[in-house]
């Protein structure tokens, strides 16, 4: 695989090397081994050199050529790719090869003259273009939830507070979208996880109920889902469909006649179906598929499943000879013949749903994680709370001179133990206590309290209560408008603080995403600090506004004080760091 030409180009804001080999177009990010973009020539279908390609059908690869080299290098690539693409077109027209459609986009940011080359490995979701790791040759476009726009939108819609903050900060351009989501990845991941969770089948029985339309007619709306459900639930209908459509009946006719047939009524999960039987007219085609209702005492299809002995009801019935008189009429099962097919249908339907659920998630019988007994019996008869609690085996603490440590400790304990305790002579101590307590009633009667102190205590307590009451009364009188402003201001300040500290504190190696280089971080910290310096002004503005609204200035100030304190703290930190740049590089030390 020889290289035809190479050039430095950025792709998705990352620097890398673009290469055109004899078979592939590939782009490798700096300091990485494997190419992030790897497209076979045969798959390259179009090349755009202007923005007209904005309406592409498929996602594209978008390369930026750094300005100085742009023109010449881009031209080389363009020329090479044009030939490849024209070859491809020729081949495709002869119909020999049908590679997936791809297109390449390239651009030079210095001028508006851009070249777009857009190859597409496999037709996939549009969002892949955003994904950082389009390991296209792997065939699985990894869907990066953190950068998925739709996910972000969903999260914002779900949490209104976050949406407000987003509107305040990102829309106004204070911080970028990416910055906003930094540190909130877990929200996106949670959303992605809940999105990707597969919903099980809904439990309801398939029971299309006709809607009445004027003129005494009835209407049943057939959706593909309904058709699928009917086929799934009643294989006999699928069979009928296979055998008759489109040969004998058209699709529409098939359904029309089905919903009028006895077959449909026997399938309806209703006891009334048996009653309507005689109203429904015969149908030569569908009546062939009609089965006798399953309303005997024994099911039509006996099953030989091996049942667990603990729930084997038949064994009990066969345990001894029948004795006694027959049950009275209410206790004879199956007297309501009409209900039996319904009941059986419930059981079958539930079983089918259960099977579909179990086969997908693969959880078997939870209880059968047994302990040596062959049938899982013991776990079923065990009384768990009668066992002693088993504390998990601890991790042994590795320490030097363990022996000596314990000896020393034991010695100390022993000495403490020995020193004060044994001296007590209990009868003597008790005697002493009795002596001390002698005449306690008299002593108690003589007890007097000083008047002044008592009063002072009472006054202070009263005051305390009064103050609390006062506060309580005055609590909720800030006008909604001012209060909202306060809240917004506080939220914004918090967000800036969060951004600020998040670039300061975790050392570079430990961050998840976000700006990775030192310079970027410093720049960001500076920017955030800039925003933060404006916070006191904003607070002042609110305070003033409150005053004009006739509110106590002090209260708003007090309310905003914690925010201001936090902001000041951050700013102070920033100042000292700036003053001592040698030691103060962001991320250079840990808190």
């Amino acid at each position: 695989m020889s290289t035809v030409c190479t050039a430095r180009a950025s792709y998705k804001k990352s620097q890398g090397l673009l290469e055109l080999t004899s078979t592939h177009l590939q782009w490798t990010q700096d300091r990485k081994e494997l190419p992030a973009v790897h497209v076979a020539h045969t798959e390259v279908s179009s090349l755009f050199s202007s923005k007209e390609g904005a309406a592409q059908q498929w996602p594209q690869f978008h390369f930026h050529f750094p300005p100085p080299l742009a023109l010449t290098e881009r031209e080389t690539f363009k020329a090479q790719l044009t030939t490849i693409i024209s070859n491809n077109r020729a081949v495709r027209e002869t119909g020999v090869l049908q590679p997936p459609q791809t297109s390449i986009q390239a651009a030079t940011p210095s001028s508006n003259d851009t070249t777009h080359r857009a190859p597409l490995p496999t037709p996939s979701r549009p969002s892949t273009s955003r994904a950082e790791s389009v390991s296209s040759n792997q065939g699985t476009p990894a869907n990066d939830p953190i950068n998925d726009f739709h996910l972000r939108k969903k999260v914002l819609v779900k949490t209104p507070e976050l949406a407000v903050l987003h509107r305040e900060l990102v829309r106004t351009g204070h911080i970028t979208e990416t910055e906003f989501w930094e540190g909130r990845e877990h929200l996106l991941l949670a959303q992605a996880a809940s999105d990707s969770q597969k919903k099980g089948r809904p439990g309801q029985l398939v029971d299309p109920r006709p809607q009445a339309v004027e003129g005494g007619e009835v209407k049943i709306v057939i959706t593909p889902q309904l058709v699928h459900d009917i086929f799934d639930e009643y294989p006999v209908v699928a069979k009928a469909y296979d055998e008759n459509v489109p040969g004998k009946l058209s699709e529409a006719e098939f359904w029309k006649r089905y919903f009028q047939s006895k077959l449909f009524h026997s399938h309806r999960a209703s006891i009334r179906s048996t009653a309507t039987q005689h109203v429904v007219k015969d149908d030569t085609i569908f009546d062939k598929y009609l089965e006798k209702p399953d309303d005997e005492l024994e099911p039509r299809k006996p099953r030989d499943d091996d049942v667990d002995m603990f729930i084997d009801l038949e064994a009990t019935r066969e345990d001894h000879e029948e004795t006694g008189n027959e049950n009275d009429v209410t206790m004879q099962a199956g007297k309501q013949r009409g209900a039996l097919p319904l009941i059986r249908k419930f059981n079958e339907h539930s079983e089918r749903l259960l099977k579909s659920a179990i086969s997908t998630d693969g959880t078997g019988k939870r209880r059968k994680v047994d302990t040596g007994d062959s049938h899982g019996y013991y776990s079923q008869i065990d009384l768990a709370d009668l066992h002693n609690l088993e504390s998990p085996a601890g991790i042994l603490l590795e320490m030097q001179d363990r022996q000596r440590y314990f000896e020393a400790r034991a010695g100390a304990a022993a000495s403490v133990e020995q020193a004060p305790r044994p001296a007590v002579d209990f009868p003597a101590a008790l005697l002493q206590m009795r002596r001390d307590l002698e005449g306690w009633q008299v002593h108690l009667a003589q007890l007097k309290t000083e008047r002044k102190a008592t009063e002072a205590a009472l006054v202070s307590m009263t005051q305390n209560v009064a103050t609390r009451l006062d506060v309580h009364k005055r609590k909720a009188d800030i006008p909604e408008e001012i209060f909202r402003q306060m809240r917004t201001c506080q939220m914004a300040a918090n967000e800036f603080l969060r951004q600020f500290w998040s670039v300061i504190y975790p050392p570079i190696g430990e961050t998840v995403g976000g700006p990775s280089t030192l310079a970027q971080r410093t720049a960001k910290a500076a920017r955030m600090a800039g925003y933060l310096t404006k916070t006191p002004e904003k607070v002042m503005a609110i305070v003033n506004a409150a005053e004009t609204a006739g509110l106590d200035r002090g209260r708003v100030q007090t309310g905003m004080q914690p925010t201001l304190d936090a902001v000041n703290k951050a700013l102070e930190f920033w100042e000292t760091r700036k003053a001592a740049p040698g030691s103060g590089a962001p991320g250079a030390r840990r808190p």
Partner: protein, 805 residues
């Protein structure tokens, strides 16, 4: 753990014990010591079976006299569960045995379960048969001694069961290795060694220490005669889950004849006649021999295994004399049977219901057909003898005739009972449960009747006519309420709900019942079980709910499984229900009180977080049999109709809801949905352990109030239980010893009035602590609390102190 009750060392296979288990064991021991009978009610799910087995095995192993344990339960699942409990207990006993000698003794212990041929058969063809009766008959054809002898004389000439044949060379005592064999174990053993599991059990029975089987094997004379007659008198008999024991007693002496049965019987009589003719020509000596034997009144010595059915009457009611002359000759007997069957068929042609006593029935019979009472009494026995002589095959075809003969014998033996003839069924109904159980009480010295729900206790001694030495019910000690019983009397729309016949199909009631199910399926995790008072009602209400769209709401939250008439089908539904509960999908199981599922299936833990009882499960009062029985109870025992009906309904309701718990960390909701449950007299019949937790507010709720309470309960119960239940609802060995010391104390106090006694009791308990503690050196920190309990003074010091300040 190991502790002592009096001098008896008890080995209990857990580290802790519930106080009620301990109390239960003490009472049980008292009964055994006194060789008397007892009735004990212990809350469901508090480990009744394990306590019972633990005490009795300890008792058996400690005393030199071997008393066999006959443990009876209702259903095969319960039998299998009891066997598993026993097996685990014995494994535990072996593991904690202190000496080699003791260990050998524990290892030599044998425990077995017995069930029918149908459940135990591993013959490749016979086991495929659906009906137990057919399996029995085919098995007999392949295994009876005549066939076996012929096959041995001339191998290959006749079909025999190899599994049975393979056992011939093994002496009976070597058939099974000592140990505990569950039914599943036995089946596996049979497959491994190619021997018949059924006969292995039957032949090993003389050597076992514990035998576990169903009530019928002891109460039904037809079966008991074959299986249980060798049990020695000092055996300990336990009826577990005995709340329905009176019904089993009644069933075992009652019989039904229907028109098709009589027709079949008539055909069988004809067949018998043909067979006799045939045999007369070929081998007349056989009949001669039989006749001679009957003249001499000799009881034929038949091996138990060959006996196909014994006399339906109880042993002591059998006549110990020769068969009367007029039915001795085979052809005479056949003619006699023919007449009898014809007579019964005529009686069936009546248009109205006749209820009469056996005496009047016999009189009428005599007037019409000249059949006397005496030959009738021998009818069953004579038929058995004839069948044996003729070496008939496929006995299941003769089952109807057998029933007629049984009927004849019963009707002529018991004058007290009632025969009713509601068209077109001939019921012979035993009215008195005491008749069937009487021999059991008389024969065995200790009979234990126990269940989770056997309230009111005095009802059982009254109905079964015995005097218990101990009669006890235990409350459930809980550190927090593990279950919440609620009585819903009206729907959210304030319409009273009830399954009373007049209103049960009222749409408002049906809808309100439905709402309860829908709402509970929304809020309760995993499994919800709902019980209905009867099959008829369940089937109609399920259909109605479906048409009203109520079930669609349930489908949104849970899968729905319903009990069906077929046992196997229901088992599969049940298994799927459990899987849905395990899987987290959650499911609702609709079933019937007194039905198949309500007996012997547990809904513990996630299998039943809520049990809903829709309506009061009264018996169908229009039933003639029930009417006759109520009359009898009133006349004979002065039990009022309403009292019996209420008792019977409530015991079944309690049985249904009680199955939701196992262990004290398990939790569940118990919903009684019927306004009649709010009445104090109804609630008083509930077992004490349930009733004590029904608060006044919870006794009369509307649906929405009940839901609020339920949600609140589930929120609290889902918190961590906390570990402070030890000492209150859970006892360690030390707690047991403390309690014993305290008890000794109170006993002593009754005799001597001493001031310092309380201290002594305390010190005994604490010494127990220290003894135990000294064995484990490193846990000083854990015991800190204990040390500070008494302020850091040692007990001996305190004892010496004169506290009289």
């Amino acid at each position: 753990m190991k502790f002592f009750i009096d001098d008896l060392p008890i080995i209990f296979p857990y580290d802790r014990i519930y106080p009620e288990q301990y109390a239960y064991m003490c009472d049980l021991k008292r009964t055994l010591d006194a060789t008397g009978h007892c009735v004990l009610e212990m809350p469901s799910g508090t480990g009744k079976t394990v306590s019972l087995l633990s005490l009795i095995i300890s008792y058996q192993q400690f005393f030199p006299v071997k008393r066999k344990l006959i443990y009876c339960s209702r259903t095969v699942p319960e039998i299998e569960k009891a066997l598993s409990e026993l097996k685990r207990l014995m494994e535990y006993r072996i593991s904690v045995a202190e000496t080699e000698e003791q260990r050998a003794k524990e290892k030599a212990f044998i425990g077995l379960g017995l069930t029918s041929r149908k459940n135990l058969c591993i013959h490749p063809e016979v086991s495929k048969e659906k009906k137990g009766k057919v399996v029995d008959a085919r098995c007999r054809d392949l295994t009876n001694s005549v066939v076996a002898n012929e096959a041995r004389a001339e191998p290959g000439s006749i079909e025999v069961c190899d599994f049975h044949e393979n056992m011939n060379d093994i002496p009976n005592e070597n058939l099974l290795a000592p140990g505990i064999w569950t039914l599943a174990d036995i089946l596996q053993h049979g497959r491994d060694t190619a021997t018949c599991p059924y006969f292995t059990i039957r032949r090993s029975m003389p050597f076992v220490d514990v035998i576990i089987y169903s009530f019928h094997y002891l109460l039904d004379p037809k079966v008991a005669e074959q299986v249980s007659k060798e049990m020695s008198k000092d055996s300990i008999v336990v009826f577990d889950e005995a709340h329905n024991i009176d019904n089993v007693c009644i069933e075992s002496l009652s019989i039904d004849l229907t028109r098709p049965m009589l027709d079949a019987a008539a055909r069988s009589v004809d067949k018998l006649a043909d067979k006799i003719d045939e045999i007369k020509k070929t081998d007349a000596s056989k009949l001669q021999d039989e006749y001679a034997k009957l003249v001499e009144g000799l009881q034929e010595a038949v091996s138990d295994e060959d006996a196909f059915t014994s006399n339906p009457a109880l042993p002591e009611d059998l006549l110990k004399e020769a068969v009367p002359g007029n039915i001795r000759k085979a052809e005479h007997f056949v003619a006699f049977l023919k007449r009898l069957v014809e007579y019964l068929k005529t009686r069936m042609r009546v248009l109205h219901v006749v209820a009469e006593t056996p005496l009047s029935f016999l009189q009428h019979l005599k007037d019409i057909t000249y059949i006397e009472r005496r030959p009738l009494r021998f009818c069953a026995e004579r038929l058995q003898s004839l069948v044996r002589t003729l070496e008939l095959n496929r006995l299941d075809e003769y089952s109807s005739l057998q029933k007629v003969a049984n009927f004849a014998t019963l009707v002529s033996t018991y004058e007290k009972d009632n025969a009713t003839v509601p068209n077109p069924v001939f019921h012979f109904v035993c009215m008195d449960p005491a008749i069937a159980i009487k021999p059991v009480f008389e024969r065995f010295s200790s009979v234990v009747i126990t269940s989770g729900t056997i309230s009111p206790l005095d009802m059982y001694p009254k109905m079964l006519q015995f005097t218990p030495v101990v009669q006890e019910t235990y409350a459930m000690t809980l550190t927090r309420n593990a279950f919440l019983p609620l009585v819903i009397t009206r729907g959210s729309d304030q319409v009273a709900i009830s399954s009373r016949f007049e209103v049960r199909n009222d749409p408002a009631v049906v809808r309100n019942f439905g709402t309860i199910l829908v709402e509970y399926s929304k809020i309760v995790p995993d499994g919800v079980v709902a019980f209905f008072p009867s099959y008829l009602y369940m089937e109609s209400i399920v259909a109605a709910w479906n048409d009203m769209g109520i079930l669609n709401e349930v489908w949104k939250h849970k899968l729905i499984f319903v009990e069906t008439p077929d046992a196997n089908e229901t088992s599969i539904a049940l298994e799927n229900y459990r899987r849905a509960c395990d899987n987290g999908r959650g499911a609702v199981l609709l079933s019937v009180a007194r039905g198949k599922v309500s007996e012997g299936i547990d809904f513990d833990h996630n299998y039943g977080r809520a049990v809903i009882m829709f309506g009061v499960p009264y018996q169908y009062t229009e039933s003639r049999i029930l009417k006759a029985r109520l009359e009898y109870l009133r006349d004979a025992y002065r039990i009022r109709e309403s009292e019996f009906l209420g008792f019977d309904a409530i015991r079944n309701a309690a049985q249904c809801v009680g199955r939701a718990l196992r262990g004290k960390t398990d939790w569940g909701l118990m919903v009684f949905a019927d306004k009649r449950f709010a009445r104090a007299d109804k609630r008083a019949k509930l077992p004490r352990w349930i009733n004590q937790y029904i608060t006044e507010t919870a006794a009369n709720l509307s649906t929405d109030m009940a839901l609020t309470l339920s949600k609140l309960f589930m929120r609290t119960i889902s918190q961590n239980a906390g570990e402070n239940s030890t000492g209150v609802s859970l006892w360690t060995v030390e707690d047991v010893e403390k309690a014993q010391a305290a008890q000794r104390q109170t006993e002593a106090e009754q005799n001597v009035a001493a001031k310092a006694k309380p201290l002594q009791a305390k010190s005994q308990g604490d010494q127990g602590d220290q003894r135990e503690g000294s064995g484990i050196p490193m846990d000083e920190d854990d015991d800190d609390d204990e040390y500070y309990d008494d302020g850091g003074f040692s007990d001996r010091v305190l004892e010496g102190v004169n506290l009289d300040i």
